[in-house]
Amino acid sequence: MIAASSNSTRISQRFADLRASGELGIIAYITAGDPSLDATLKFVLALAEAGADIIELGVPFSDPLADGPTIQRASERALKSGISLAGVIDLVHRIRQSSQVPLILFSYYNPILQMGLEKFARAASEAGADGVLATDLTPEESADYRRILAAHNLDTIFLGAPTSTEERLAKIAGVSSGFLYLISRTGVTGAKDALPDDLPVLIRRARAVTQLPIAVGFGISLPGHVSVLGRLADAAVVGSALVSEIENAKSIDAACAALAARIRSLKQAATYGLSRREVAP
């Protein structure tokens, strides 16, 4: 049994370690239950073993309106195999038997709301989750959610967007714990070739209003992206590219190998060369 008080520090501790080593963190997203919870358990362990710093477990939802086709298909596959939020929380518990990798539940709001905020927060915390991100929940609508999750030592991670004003970025950072998640571009999730030109400006705008570590996601898939981000952000989130590896693999073991290879190549770009940053004093 993991003490509840240790939960909220896993994410912060990982960012502190990354900052000390001057290394960009790699956050790996996969959809839980795609194609089964047993497979997801193997994938998470493979990702962590290969060097992923934080894992986001996507909770499948019937109407993923912030997601592009790759994660939509993953959600559909997971729902077809009967995955529920309760099943994903149970998976967190199983992961914790063998790994201390920081874990974030990445969900749309309705499944959480239907479970009940208190029941959800208690179950997620007891299972060993470290934080929660609800895609369609903003600071304005989340007072109860934040109070209850904080009471269970769960980090509440909110999204900042290219359309967010300075005032909003400050507000979002003010209610976020663990880190601030910046969406790199207007749009839905999905791998893209190039990073948006205005991304450095967005990251600088966010830095100006918060001390929290900053992770950048949406459209990140290549070592080159990571190299660029290394000098700007604290972590890069890779999602659709990993989900595609799972979709295209011939077997669960082959998917594990492909995921690990992806993470190693990204981690290498994060650790060496251009992306290497000055170690914080």
């Binding site: 109407d63 239907q114 359309t163």
Partner: protein, 403 residues
């Protein structure tokens, strides 16, 4: 006066506990901008003049409030009036809102609009106003709805709109909204989302209601002129609920006027067989408050919070959530909601066609069916307005196949 009459909206964008703004962060600032633009437009003399001119000269307002003498005779009781929104340009009430939001898109400097459509009426209205105002228009439509409303697909294309087929999920209105929102979140700097019902994040439920409330304002004046008294009952079909709130809103303070919203009972009461969100009293299963597509309201869903499949013969009513203001009116017992079956709606369409010489849209036929099913409850003193929200041309394939 009860509290609802003073303050139907208890917080910005809230109707009691319902409504709100549950969207990805990227859309928050655009929603604030839309809210601000709409607030300014409300008191902008030139905007209002343009709106009134288009409603009158382009859409054909005011619409008649027609005494339905043979339907009245057929039902043998109450006096029945039809608010003839079906006579509007493009064939349904949807144009009222499309004109308003089209003008707002121009004001905001957005050259492109996206819209979702179920029955195709909102898509046609959006394509129409886009053509009229010189805006680019993309309409998302489920493939199942494209098949059953093929005429409207052809109309949108003739009007110069791009119709994008949506083959995900249930391939109906809900999935078209998901896809329209994905387009909007991607192209938000150049694009206005012309949402067609009283759904979605604030300010849509309020703004769309306001653009549709002309239906009830006209009807209230017309019935007072014709009958020298207020109606006893209002009937309207409810998918998202824009024609219903459009009729109801001007009568909210008239506490003696009963309001009845008719939902799609489909082919059965089990979850998946219907689209009745507020008819649990009739045994329709699966509706609970939840968050879907930006708003907190009654949603058909399973116990895990996954949104349920719905069924209705009417594409425009085939949707798992109801506008948040309707959820609040139901909680307050200010309006009643009930469902009628696919077959009752078909029968009602035939009855209206043969008694009044009007072929209604399948959506509006639900309102007529709700009225017919309650015929025994009325007295000859009752005075009823039914919102005939759209005409049936688009449904001729279904009618000729099933009647």
């Amino acid at each position: 006066m009860s509290s609802i009459l003073q303050s139907p909206t208890t917080a910005p964008g809230r109707f009691g506990p319902y409504g709100g703004r549950y969207v990805p962060e990227t859309l928050m600032v655009p929603l604030f901008e839309l809210e601000r633009a709409y607030e300014i437009a409300k008191s902008d003399v030139s905007f209002q003049a343009q709106l009134q001119s288009l409603l009158k000269n382009f859409a054909g307002r005011p619409t008649p409030l027609q005494f339905a003498s043979r339907l009245t005779e057929h039902l043998g009781g109450p006096r029945i009036y039809l608010k003839r929104e079906d006579l509007l340009h493009t064939g349904a009430h949807k144009i009222n809102n499309a004109i308003g939001q089209g003008l707002l898109a121009l004001k905001m400097g957005k050259p492109r609009i996206v819209a979702e459509t179920g029955a195709g009426q909102h898509g046609v209205a959006s394509a129409t106003i886009a053509a009229h105002l010189g805006l680019e228009c993309v309409v998302y439509m489920g493939t199942e709805d494209m098949a059953r409303q093929a005429l409207n697909v052809a109309r949108m294309r003739l009007l110069g709109a791009q119709v994008v087929a949506v083959a995900s999920g249930s391939r109906t209105l809900k999935d078209a909204i998901n896809e329209a929102m994905r387009d909007w979140v991607t192209n938000v700097r150049t694009t206005h989302y012309l949402l067609g019902s009283v759904l979605g994040a604030h300010p849509y439920p309020t703004m769309v209601r306001d653009f549709q409330s002309i239906i009830g304002r006209e009807a209230r004046e017309q019935i007072l002129a014709a009958e020298k008294r207020l109606p006893t009952h209002l009937f309207a079909c409810v998918g998202g609920g824009s024609n219903a709130i459009g009729l109801f809103y001007a009568f909210l303070r008239d506490s003696e006027v009963k309001m009845v919203g008719i939902e799609a009972g489909g082919r059965g009461s089990e979850l998946g067989e219907h689209a009745a969100r507020l008819a649990a009293a009739q045994g329709y299963a699966g509706a609970r408050p939840g968050v879907l597509q930006g708003t907190y309201t009654y949603v058909l869903q399973n116990s895990d919070g996954q949104i349920a499949a719905t069924h209705s013969i009417s594409a425009g009513l085939d949707y798992p959530a109801i506008g948040p203001e309707h959820a609040w009116l139901a909680d307050q017992h200010r309006a009643q909601y009930a469902a009628v079956s696919d077959s009752a709606a078909l029968d009602a369409a035939q009855t209206l066609a043969r008694t009044e010489g009007i072929i209604p849209a399948l959506e509006s036929a639900h309102a007529i069916a709700g009225l017919i099913e309650r015929r025994a409850q009325f007295t000859p003193d009752d005075l009823i307005i039914v919102n005939l929200s759209g005409r049936g041309d688009k449904d001729m394939d279904t009618y000729s196949r099933l009647l």
